[in-house]
């Protein structure tokens, strides 16, 4: 990451913030200058960054610097000093701030780590290399769940853990949430992770088998095969219209 920028992206709750905090702690232990910022107004973010870099965000009169002056202060510092800037939930930052990040990166010397959930393919996200934070392995998720159980003084057997694990989808936040739901006695079956894949189109494609049967019946003069194939095809066609007219799942809890 030296003299460069990187974007770590993944689904919500996949552990980006935890990773960022661990990284900051590690870099600080090794003696690096690190600042971490979370989405706020550009001025608030730049003030926070300048404070973490021990820069003075006030002028000689003791007044807070204007936004442009803050931008210049921090970008000048990043050019001169080998420091690392970590932005969590970067997709939620204002376009103005993201544009400044892009310009700071262009000036060089800016070590930038962006953490984002499904970032847009624009400005800074387009110009920095991206790495996807994949869902965690079953083993790692099981370890998180076991630790969560131990920290709450609860004993769960493998059957319970296995049942809860099927709701996590490799997402550590959901792993802990599913455990807490169990702890509170909330009965859940579906989960909120993004690993679901709707196979409705695949099932409907199977309906083409009936159309094929219909043509075989036509070719072999088998009337029953022809009619059955036709009926089956028509039923699948009607079914497909019905399924596609079903309401889509909303993005809000309901």
């Amino acid at each position: 990451m030296a003299q460069g920028a990187l974007c770590l992206w993944g689904e919500e709750g996949c552990g980006k913030s935890v990773l960022a905090q661990a990284l900051v702690k590690n870099l600080q232990t090794e003696g690096y200058l690190v600042a971490i910022a979370e989405p706020a107004t550009p001025k608030q973010m730049l003030t926070s960054i300048s404070e973490q870099f021990a820069l003075n965000p006030y002028n000689l009169e003791g007044k807070a610097l204007a936004l442009d002056a803050l931008k210049l202060l921090v970008s000048d510092f990043l050019v001169k000093t080998p420091a690392v800037l970590v932005i969590d939930d970067a997709q939620m930052c204002k376009p103005d701030f993201r544009h400044w990040l892009k310009k700071a990166k262009k000036r060089g010397g800016c070590n930038l780590l962006l953490l984002a959930t499904n970032p847009p393919l624009t400005d800074i996200f387009l110009s920095v290399p991206r790495i996807e934070l994949k869902p965690m392995s079953e083993k790692a998720i099981r370890e998180i769940m076991v630790n969560a159980a131990v920290s709450r003084g609860i004993q769960l057997n493998n059957a319970d853990l296995s049942r809860l694990q099927s709701r996590t989808g490799g997402n550590p936040t959901l792993a802990i949430r599913s455990f807490e739901e169990e702890y509170l006695g909330i009965d859940q079956e579906a989960a909120d992770h993004k690993r679901y894949f709707d196979i409705t189109p695949l099932i409907l494609i199977a309906g083409t088998v009936f159309v094929v049967i219909r043509f075989i019946g036509l070719g072999t003069s088998d009337k029953s095969m022809y009619i059955l194939g036709g009926i089956g095809g028509a039923v699948f066609l009607g079914l497909s219209r019905l399924i596609y007219s079903l309401p889509k799942e909303g993005r809000r809890v309901n």
């Binding site: 079953e138 694990q165 690993r195 679901y196 894949f197 709707d198 196979i199 409705t200």
Partner: protein, 347 residues
């Protein structure tokens, strides 16, 4: 999904795909539907094989590898390898594969889904909206269960009466359905047709049951209870024009075809050996008979199974008794084929 739902779905799918009503095969398929849930100790399969379940539970979540196409392929390889050595096991192997596959596939319609394309960790579901998917033990699942019971009973009933195509052929009453059943069962059973139509000569209504003697063009040569021969079908030379025709499988019977060559030999004596108890014989072929006297005029309502032209007699599915009574005393030259349907014998 409840265990009973898995049992019903897998049993029904086995009956539908194998077209069988054999209880042991259906039971195998139905029980196989419980096997994918071997990855949880809360299931019947998990309780039966605790050591395998413990292995799954310690490593992964529920509805993982055991609910996948990979697992189905693995089951198919194992059971079909066994059936390669034990031929009688083949229908059970098919039932196991179908039952197992539909056992986990049913979970696609539940809120949790299953890892159908394992090792991909995607959870396959249908439909996409979780609120429309089934929740284990919910009222909706019981409604689906009731529908499944009705479907299972219907399929079992259809299969026990000859299968889906046979029943559908009966429903649409088309000649192609009769041909299908005749081709399938005709070699070891008597096939009867229920004809609903009109006589071509006077358009009198016909609603009777006949025994199929043989196929002729797109129609059939049939025999009624009084041993009269007709051609039924839609062709112009048919004595009975069909509007609806359905077929039934009758008692066990074996059909044999033998040939006989006559070289100016007595016809009655040569054909006498084909008179056998419990069997009906029909003669087809051409004979040249010197000094042949005119045969009595044929019944205009029946199929002309014996046709005369000067010294030549052409036979087509002519009942043996009729041939003997009309031509038994003559001397003939030619080749005949004798079709014998013997009742009460299974091939």
């Amino acid at each position: 999904m409840l265990g009973i739902s898995h049992v019903l779905i897998s049993g029904t799918a086995t009956a539908l795909f194998l077209g069988t009503a054999e209880p042991s095969v259906l039971l195998t398929g139905a029980i196989a539907g419980l096997l994918p849930d071997i990855d949880t100790s809360l299931s019947p399969a998990g309780r039966m094989f605790p050591w395998i379940t413990a292995l799954f539970e310690s490593r992964q979540g529920h509805r993982g590898v055991s609910h996948s196409l990979f697992a189905s392929s693995l089951v198919a390889v194992v059971v079909y390898t066994i059936s390669f050595f034990l031929y009688w096991f083949f229908p059970y192997a098919s039932a196991l594969v179908i039952g197992y596959s539909f056992g986990w596939f049913a979970d696609v319609f539940t809120q949790g889904g299953c890892e159908m394309f394992w090792p991909s960790r995607l959870l396959c579901v249908c439909p996409g909206n979780r609120n429309l998917r089934l929740r284990t033990g919910s009222n909706n699942e019981y409604i689906v269960l009731a529908c499944l019971i009705a479907i299972a009973i219907a399929i079992f009933s259809i299969n026990s009466r000859g299968g889906l195509f046979t029943q559908f052929n009966r429903l649409i009453a088309s000649p192609s359905g009769v041909i299908h059943l005749y081709n399938e069962e005709g070699s070891h059973h008597k096939i009867f047709v229920n004809v609903d139509g009109v006589r071509s000569s006077d358009r009198a209504k016909v609603d009777s049951r006949f025994l199929i003697v043989q196929q002729s063009g797109s129609g059939f040569i049939v025999q009624d209870k009084s041993n009269k021969i007709y051609k039924v079908g839609a062709e112009p030379d048919s004595q009975i024009l069909t509007e609806r025709i359905t077929a039934d499988v009758g008692e066990s019977a074996v059909t044999n075809l033998e040939s006989l060559t006559l070289d100016d030999e007595p016809i009655g004596e040569s054909l006498a050996k084909f008179i056998r108890s419990g069997s009906s014989s029909y003669v087809t072929g051409q004979l040249t008979i010197e000094d042949l006297q005119s045969l009595p005029p044929p019944d205009p309502y029946q199929f002309h199974s014996i046709k005369q032209s000067t010294t030549t007699v052409t036979l087509e599915a002519a009942p043996l008794q009729n041939v003997l009574s009309l031509l038994g005393d003559e001397f003939g030259k030619g080749t005949l084929s004798i079709k014998t349907i013997t009742s009460g014998v299974s091939s």
